[in-house]
Structures are given as C-alpha cells and as structure tokens.
Amino acid sequence: MKILLIEDEEETARYVADGLTRQGHVVDQAANGRDGLFLAAGEPYDVMIVDRLLPGLDGLGVVKTIRGAGVKTPVLFLTAVDGVDDRVEGLEAGGDDYLVKPFAFTELAARVNALGRRPTLAQNGAVLRIGDLEMDLSRRTVVRGGRSVELQPREFRLLEYLMRHPGQLVTRTMLLEHVWDFHFDPRTTVVETHISRLRGKLGSDGEQTLIETVRGAGYRLRDARPLA
C-alpha cells in the first residue's frame, strides 16, 4: 500500500515508517501540516496517518481540507492525549480511525491494514463468504459447511467484522471499538470470552478453527480456501 505519514515527532515518524516499510508498504513522510497537505493533494494514497498536533496547520485542519477537496483516502489520526472527546472531534473532521500514542506497532499496522483494505460500499454484497463460512447480511443468517449457526446479535456483529477483514490481524481494541463501541480497555477478558464462544459455535470436531489467535496481538480469520 502507499501510505502518507504526517508526523512532526521525528522518532515516532521513523519508527512508524520503518515498521510499515518492513511490512512492504511504501511510505511518504511529511513533518508538518502544509507539506502533508501538499503531498496529499498531489498523489493518491491508500491510507494517511496524521498526527493531530502539528506545527502550523494541525491534523484536523489538514484532514478537513483534503476532505473538502474530495479526497476520500482513509485517515488514521494519531494523538498524544486520550482526550475524552478528541476521538469524536477527529471522526467529525473526516478521520476514519484513531490511535493514542504510545501504541504498539502491531496495533497501528493492524489498523492501517484494516483501513487500506476497507471494502467500499459498492463491494458490499448481501452475502459474505469466507471458505465454507457464509453470512447473509440481509437475512441475518450464518451457515458453515451447510450447517446453520445460531448467533446472538452481538456475536453476529463480531463475526461480520472479522469476515470483513479476512486474513488480517484484528486487535482486541479494534474489536472493542467496532463491535461493542467500547472506547476504553476493560480489565477483564471480555474479548477472549466472546471469541471463544464464537469459536465454539462455529467449529465442531473435524473442522478447522476459523479464528486464529495471534499471540500478544489479536485475532485473524483464516482466509484459506476450504480443504477439500
């Protein structure tokens, strides 16, 4: 993916750029809002990572401006402070996701990947299909290997989120934010519990575990074709 990083903190910028480059992305960098705006206007990017606090034109201003110009590139905001309503402000300005510094690189990478491969509305079919798993969004039904799976509404949303990001790492916080709308870190193993329940409902003996655990990072829905 081609990624634009607008970050004035040199150390963070290097850390993020190095990590993303190692993952095979192409990263352009800007150290202030004006340069960032210039780059964003000139070239198409898959994802933009924008620090909220920038010298000169701040992150919110940059994103508002490029949105005003009709650029639809997904934007991930970075911020130094976990402001209570900073998140809402960021989203209102046209940001798509929000990450508080300091962050684990895996968290950032997972979010960037999720943003970059976000299916656009046109690609949204009424049925999601991953391997032998099938989800009918309009009829709210799930079928695995021809067997119907009964899910609670929230479990349905959890599986839907995983199925919309097949093969990608989905972190615990991403699930909390997108599935349950929780914007804090619970101190109990709620996500783990829900995942293990979903696994129990989806998989039975002889079938593969569809939801893999990525140790210390999150989960991944297997994108492999079903074994014959």
Binding site: A80, D82, V88, V100, P102, F184, R187, T188, T189
Partner: protein, 481 residues
C-alpha cells in the same frame, strides 16, 4: 436570602444594637430626671412665692398681731373676687376660726404637698376644694395656726406630662433602636451569609467560586476588604490545587513519552530477534512489554481522570439511551461472569434517556460491573438494575452483588486514586477504576452511594439528577428492588 429571626438575635450587630438602645435609654432617663426636677422645681417655686406673698399680705392686714384681726383678714381675702387661695385658721384647740380647709391641712409649719382623700360620697371636691394642694403653715405668736394653700393640680399635671412624654419617647427610642438593629443586622448578615455560601461551595469542591464584592465605586467597607482578601486567598488555594493536579498530570504526561520509547525499544528488540531465539528470552521481553503497557494504562487512566475532572467532556454531552448502554454492558460482561462461575443479570427499564457522554457512562457502569466480577468469588450473583425516574427522584442505576462487599469504614476511601483494599491487593488492578467512576459521576451530577447488600455484598447506587431525564417510551419492569 431569607433572614431568620433566631439567627438575627444571635448576631453580633443585633446585640450591639440592643446594647446601644440600652445605653440610649439610660441617658434618656437621666435627661428626663433633670427635666422633671427642673420643671417641677420652677413651678413649686412659683407656687411658694405666691403663698409667701399671700401670707405677707395677711400679716400686713393684721399688723396688731391678734388672732381676731387675722380672722377678719382671712375672711376678707376669701371674699375677694378671683381669690385662688384656700385657708384654715384654727385656735390652739384646733377649732376652725376662719377658712375652708379641712382639719388635716393643719400640719407642721412650713411648706408641704397634700392630697386630700375623697370624701365618703367619693367626691373629692364636694366642698369646692381641689384634691391636690400645696400649703404653707405657720404658728401665729398667740398659739393659733394658719394654713394657706394653693391648688397644686398644675404641678401634678406637669409631672404626669413629663412622665408620659418620657414613657412614649423611651418606648419609641427602644423600638427604633431594635428595628434599626434588626435592619443593620440583616444587612450585615446578608453579606456574612454571602461569604458563608461561597466558602461552603469552595469546601464542596468548587474552587473557582468567589465571594461577591460590590461594585468598585461602592466598595471599600470592611466586608469588601474581607471579601477581597478571602478571594485572594481562594485564588492562591486554587492555584496550589491546580498546580498539584497539573503536576500529577504533567508527570503522567511526561513519563508517557519515555515509557513509549521504552516500549518501542522492547518491541523492536522482540521483533528483530534472530530466527530461533531462546523462547525464554522472548518471553522475558514480552513480560517487560506487558509491564510497560500496564504503566501506560495507569498513566492513561490518571490523565483521563484529570481531563474528566477538568470538565472538558461536558462539551460532548448529548441525549443517550441509557437502557441501551446498560444492555451492551450486560451483553459484554455476561459471558465473562459466566466463565468465572458467576451470574450477571439485569432488570432494565427500556427507553430511558439521560444527558451525558455515552463513552464515559458506558465505562462507569462497566467499571462497576468489572469490580464485582473481579472481586467476587465463583457463585457471586451480580445484578444490574435501571429504574425510571419517579416522584422526586431521577433515573437510578444499581449494581449489586453478593460478593465480599466493602467494609463500611473503607467506603469513603475507595474512590481515591490508587487506593486499594487490603483484601484486593493480590488481584491485578491499578486502583484507579473507582476514582474514574467518581470523576464520571461528578461530571454528570450523579450521586453515588455504596451500601450493604442483604445479606452480604455491595450495592452501588447511581442516582442521576432529576432534570435531564425523560422516559422515551412505555416501560415495564418497574418493580422495586
């Protein structure tokens, strides 16, 4: 402000007013005594002079000195038109020789006042003699006794007039002094009350509150000076508290950067580990990363509390479906409780809306439910109840469990930052969960109360203020706890 009379009577200024009235009354009394004495003395002198002149006239007419001449003189004077005197001339045996005064008028020689008792019929002046008289008596050389008297009614009237005037004057003075004292006290009390109210608000935690000072043009009395001084003191206290808060926030903020760097370095070390590295070595790095994350979480929570306390989030307030928030918390934590062998149940009235910050209210309820799950043993029953407003009470949320509970003496402490019960020191946690809950309730005007749950356990009651709530649609499950 309403002035309460019992309060008023206790005030210093009222007592001063009363003392002032007392002193004033004493000086008025002295004045009265002087006026009374001077006025009556003058009148007495006048009467006495008249009596003396009459005696001299009588004596001149009976210059021979005989009792018979005196008898004639008295009789002649009595017949004179316009005579205002009364007389009694008696011989040594007390027999009346001339005059109209009764026998009791003949007393010792010299001047004296006399009040005649009413006669049997009850009429004092049946014999045409006034009741109040001032008399002059004199023994004549031959043993006869002469009494000359004048009506002293005017003297009596004067005395009465002065006394009445004084009584009215003193009464009015005392009344005015009391009223003036009351008005003065009320004015003073009002200003003292303003200072009291402001200091109560400050003690309740509103450090931005100041004592009202009157407009500059009218300012300058002692109360204004006191208010200005107290306000300066409050400025200083606010500055100090703000500084303290700022320091802890700054520490949390400033330490996040090096901690983040540490975290980053550890991450780089782990990710850059050579193929086939010692798994123990990698596990150590993972543990260090976990520690760094825990520290960052603690600092994050501290900053969040500071930010909520600063009231910044109020900008993001809006109507929120509280029922849906609690429903989500139930749904998220239900399985986690089950996994620990506990039950999490809810009795939620649907469609309850409140004004607030959705994310914060979710976290508030989630923290309380988490606490119950984490500190309760297997088998603990946790219940989440949402009740609609009724009567004079607003929306109420109750999180109760039959776990170990919190000892009564500790209940005030658990909302303090980093405070942990001895019994929970073994469990993971940073001691900020309830401090955050307290900050969120404060921001939303929610009253939080910890009580015993019967037969044991803890019940946390969150009472929303009445004003911003409304029931969106029909409700069921209104049964009381």
């Amino acid at each position: 402000m309403r002035v309460h009379w019992p309060d008023l009577v206790r005030t210093t200024s009222f007592r001063l007013a009363l003392l002032y009235a007392g002193l004033f009354a004493v000086s008025a009394l002295t004045l009265f005594a002087v006026i009374y004495w001077a006025a009556t003395a003058t009148l007495v002198d006048q009467i006495d002079a008249g009596l003396e002149a009459e005696r001299a006239a009588l004596e001149a007419q009976s210059s021979v000195g005989g009792t018979a001449e005196m008898q004639d003189a008295v009789t002649e004077h009595m017949r004179r038109p316009g005579n205002r005197f009364h007389y009694r001339l008696q011989d040594t045996s007390g027999r009346l020789l001339a005059g109209d005064l009764p026998p009791e008028a003949a007393r010792h020689p010299g001047y004296h006042d006399m009040e005649r008792p009413p006669d049997r019929a009850g009429r004092a002046d049946a014999d045409n003699i006034p009741r109040q008289i001032r008399a002059f008596a004199e023994a004549l050389p031959d043993g006869a006794f002469l009494v000359i008297a004048e009506d002293a009614h005017a003297l009596d009237e004067l005395r009465e007039l002065i006394a009445r005037a004084f009584a009215w004057g003193a009464g009015a003075t005392l009344l005015l002094a009391a009223l003036g004292g009351g008005v003065m006290s009320a004015g003073v009390l009002r200003r003292v009350e303003a200072i009291n109210r402001a200091s109560e608000r400050v003690m309740a935690g509103d450090l931005t509150r100041r004592i009202p000072v009157r407009a500059q043009s009218r300012a300058g009395d002692e109360f204004d000076r006191l208010a200005v001084n107290l306000n300066r003191m409050l400025d200083r206290i606010e500055g100090l508290v703000e500084g303290l808060r700022q320091v802890s926030t700054d520490i949390a903020h400033d330490l996040r950067t090096p901690l983040g760097r540490l975290r980053r370095t550890l991450e780089t070390a782990r990710d850059g580990a050579p193929e086939g590295a010692d798994p123990d070595y990698l596990a150590q790095i993972d543990r260090a990363l976990g520690e760094a994350d825990a520290l960052l979480t603690t600092f994050g929570a501290l900053l969040r509390i500071a930010q909520i306390e600063a009231g910044a989030a109020r900008r993001g307030f809006g109507p929120i479906d509280l029922s849906a928030v609690l429903e989500a918390v139930l749904e998220v934590y239900g399985p986690a409780a089950e996994e620990k062998g506990q039950t999490l149940a809810g009795r939620l009235t649907p469609g309850i809306a409140v004004i607030g910050d959705r994310a914060l209210l979710t976290q508030m309820v989630a923290n309380l439910v988490e606490n119950a799950i984490r500190h309760g043993p297997a088998g603990t029953r946790i219940e989440l109840v949402l009740m609609p407003p009724s009567g004079n009470r607003g929306v109420e949320v109750t999180v109760s469990d039959d776990g170990p509970g919190i000892p009564e003496g500790e209940r005030g402490n658990v909302f303090r930052r980093f405070y942990r019960l001895d019994s929970s020191r073994g469990t993971p946690g940073n001691g900020l969960g309830l401090a955050l809950v307290a900050a969120i309730t404060e921001l939303h005007g929610i009253t939080i109360r910890l009580t015993d749950n019967t037969p044991h356990g803890l019940s946390v009651r969150l009472a929303f203020a009445i004003r911003p709530t409304e029931v969106v649609e029909g409700s069921f499950g209104r049964d009381r706890i």
